[in-house]
């Protein structure tokens, strides 16, 4: 069976109704948010809540349509990207490692600063992509992190202190 057919079969079997539910919930959130915006009495035409209400209603309707699409078995196929095999089964460890690399700055950047955070993020992402040369990855990450911090600060882009925990 060609890979595109396999992809389609898998996509039909998946029926991701929860996508529509999430969009519907977002619509409700926006409709609810519109309630909390005080209407200005001296404003002619549309007030500040109108656009929120329109967008909320649109998202709610689209959410319902997406649920219908999913339940009717309309395929939701993974996109073709350079370097990715859309038909391949997703690798959870690789995904989680990459996600860790992206999320690690949330935990470290305010305490350890940009260069050290960049080292961890770089090494985690390279490991997600199959690299196992940890020391080399850390070293390359250190060079890229420090060079970016210095180079961009010359261009006037402030990336915070070098190592905040040490007061640098």
């Amino acid at each position: 069976m060609p890979s595109s057919d396999r992809r389609k079969d898998k996509a039909v079997a998946a029926r991701p109704w929860w996508l529509g539910a999430a969009v519907f919930a977002m619509g409700l959130l926006w409709l609810h948010g519109a309630q909390g915006i005080a209407s200005t009495t001296n404003f002619i035409g549309l007030g500040p809540a109108a656009m929120i209400r329109m967008v909320g209603a649109g998202l709610a309707i689209l959410g319902m349509l997406l649920i219908l699409q999913a339940l009717r078995g309309v395929p939701f196929m993974p996109q073709e990207e350079e370097g990715a095999d859309a038909a391949a089964p997703p690798s959870r460890p690789a995904f989680l490692l990459a996600l860790a690399g992206i999320a690690v700055p949330l935990a470290t950047i305010r305490m350890l600063g940009f260069p050290l955070t960049a080292i961890f993020a770089f090494a985690l992402v390279t490991h997600a992509f199959g690299s196992r040369r940890t020391l080399l990855d850390l070293a390359i990450g250190a060079v890229i992190g420090a060079a970016s911090w210095y180079g961009f600060s010359l261009l006037g882009i402030e990336l915070g202190p070098f190592l905040p925990v040490a007061g640098w």
């Binding site: 998202l59 993974p78 990715a84 992190g145």
Partner: protein, 501 residues
């Protein structure tokens, strides 16, 4: 003559040593990101947006134009030598180009692509030079209801054309519109949808959304579904550059590609996919050797590659004249204009002629730089493909971090980057287009302003929205665009039935 005079003034700006330097930087960066996977012109420009605070607007836009055109040149290199079209506009180039490379004619394919890009890019820029001021003049007569209708047309076009389903296209668009409503309402000063978070009062940064949806979403997606097939680079050595026969077979497709690409690229959501496909079909029909198509016909590289570059120039027409972005890259360019407090449109031609004409002139200069960079130096660019994939994506994440953290060292921006990056991943897994979300985010607040302005002027009378012939025409076209897929399906069905009969 006035246009020529203005263009000469533009060259005086573009040829200043500092601007030539920025054009060269842009062309090198653009070609590099065109060759490398995972990073495109939109993301590169977005990551460089903070730099605009330190660089003069002329220089920044000249660099961005180099990135825009350079990425197209770089994209053709990977399409031909790796059979890996980096973006949809290069798909048709890859079909014939990679076959030529496999047959040992990679050098000729690269040459026809580069010269074709140069010819079409120059023709497209020439058309932009004469057309843009005329369209900008037209925009002077637009009222708020006309602008609103034009934006509705733009929204409908991107939601319908980009992506596999209208529902998913509109979902992406509405998500972008929703993000655009977060922050302080510019007309009444009230905070909206900030969920009690002070950091959200300024709204969601366009750069954060773009970096998250493109760089982070793609990194997560490719990491989880890595292709195990090793990329095969067809060797260049030994192959001849273009022969006299190749030139004879290429020049007409270059011109035809430019003529097809520019007008379609100028339409809202015209993009590069349709003109390149159309150019390929036309060349196959007109070719004296149609049997060569599918086996490495040089016309199949020359035409689509020219169409691709001319369409890129076309995309600048609605952006510079009406402030209307029709692709993700154009949306980032619009964000860059806004960073400088500028609004592209008719007034910009009057108030900032140096900037606009310098930018247009730099497109001519950039094309020459790119031709020099890409033809003799293609061997160097191919070496970029030897960088191991883990390091490319590791580098992308670090630069994404620079782009987001460098905005205002805000932890909330990082949190948004992670959250929206996950949404970008889900969008790729379930086939939602990304560009409509970006266009909704950047154009939504402007559409709201125009709508409220029109209704304020008309004292709340909604009929004002169809009250002028321009507004009514745009809305009718928007409705037609909405039903376009249905009409196309019926039309195709009828044609198939007829051919069976």
């Amino acid at each position: 003559m006035d246009v020529l005079h203005q263009l000469l003034g533009g060259f005086a700006v573009a040829l200043q040593p500092i601007n030539l330097f920025w054009a060269l930087v842009g062309c090198i960066l653009g070609t590099a990101v065109g060759v490398l996977p995972g990073i495109g012109p939109a993301l590169t420009i977005a990551l460089l947006l903070p730099v605009t605070a330190q660089v003069a607007p002329e220089s920044a836009f000249i660099m961005f134009a180099g990135i825009l055109y350079g990425a197209l040149y770089g994209g053709s290199t990977t399409s031909i030598l790796l059979n890996m079209p980096g973006e949809s506009g290069s798909v048709m180039t890859a079909i014939e180009g990679s076959r030529m490379a496999r047959n040992g004619r990679g050098a000729a394919a690269l040459a026809t692509a580069a010269v074709g890009s140069f010819v079409a890019g120059t023709i497209g820029t020439l058309a932009l030079t004469f057309l843009a001021p005329a369209i900008a003049e037209l925009a002077f007569i637009f009222g708020p209801e006309d602008y609103f209708a034009l934006m509705i047309l733009s929204f409908t076009s991107v939601a319908v054309v980009m992506g596999s389903s209208r529902i998913r296209g509109f979902t992406a668009l509405f998500c972008g519109l929703a993000l655009g409503t977060i922050g302080i309402d510019t007309q009444t000063g009230q905070s909206r949808m900030v969920f009690g978070t002070l950091e959200l009062l300024d709204g969601v940064s366009f750069t954060v959304v773009l970096v998250a949806l493109f760089a982070i979403g793609e990194t997560l997606y490719v990491a989880s579904r890595q292709s195990r097939r090793a990329a095969v680079v067809y060797p260049l050595s030994g192959g001849a550059w273009m022969t006299r026969e190749d030139w004879r077979r290429s020049w007409k497709p270059w011109l035809r590609g430019a003529l097809i690409g520019f007008p379609i690229g100028s339409l809202p959501a015209g993009g590069t996919e349709i003109p390149t496909f159309l150019s390929y079909t036309v060349e196959r029909r007109l070719s004296a050797r149609p049997e060569e198509f599918g086996h490495g016909a040089i016309e199949g590289v020359a035409g689509p590659e020219a169409a691709n570059n001319a369409a890129a120039a076309g995309i600048l027409v609605p952006l510079l004249t009406l402030g209307l972005p029709s692709t993700a890259t154009a949306a980032v360019l619009l964000a860059a204009f806004q960073n400088y407090g500028l609004q592209p449109g008719p007034l910009l031609f009057a108030t900032n002629p140096d900037l606009l004409w310098g930018l247009i002139a730099s497109l001519f200069v950039g094309n020459i730089i790119l031709l020099v960079l890409n033809l003799p130096l293609v061997g160097i660019w191919v070496r970029l493909l030897l960088i191991p994939r883990p390091y490319i994506y590791g580098g992308i994440v670090v630069f994404a971090l620079v782009g987001v953290w460098g905005l205002s060292t805000s932890w909330m921006d990082l949190l948004l980057m992670c959250g929206l990056g996950l949404i970008g991943y889900v969008a790729r897994v379930y086939d939602f287009p990304i560009a409509p979300a970006l266009i909704g985010l950047i154009l939504g607040p402007q559409a709201e302003i125009q709508l409220r302005r029109a209704l304020a002027v008309s004292q709340g009378d909604w009929s004002v929205l169809v009250g002028t012939p321009i507004a009514a025409s745009f809305l009718v076209i928007a409705v037609l665009v909405f039903f376009l897929p249905m009409i196309m399906t019926k039309f195709r069905g009828a044609v198939q039935q007829e051919s069976k009969a």
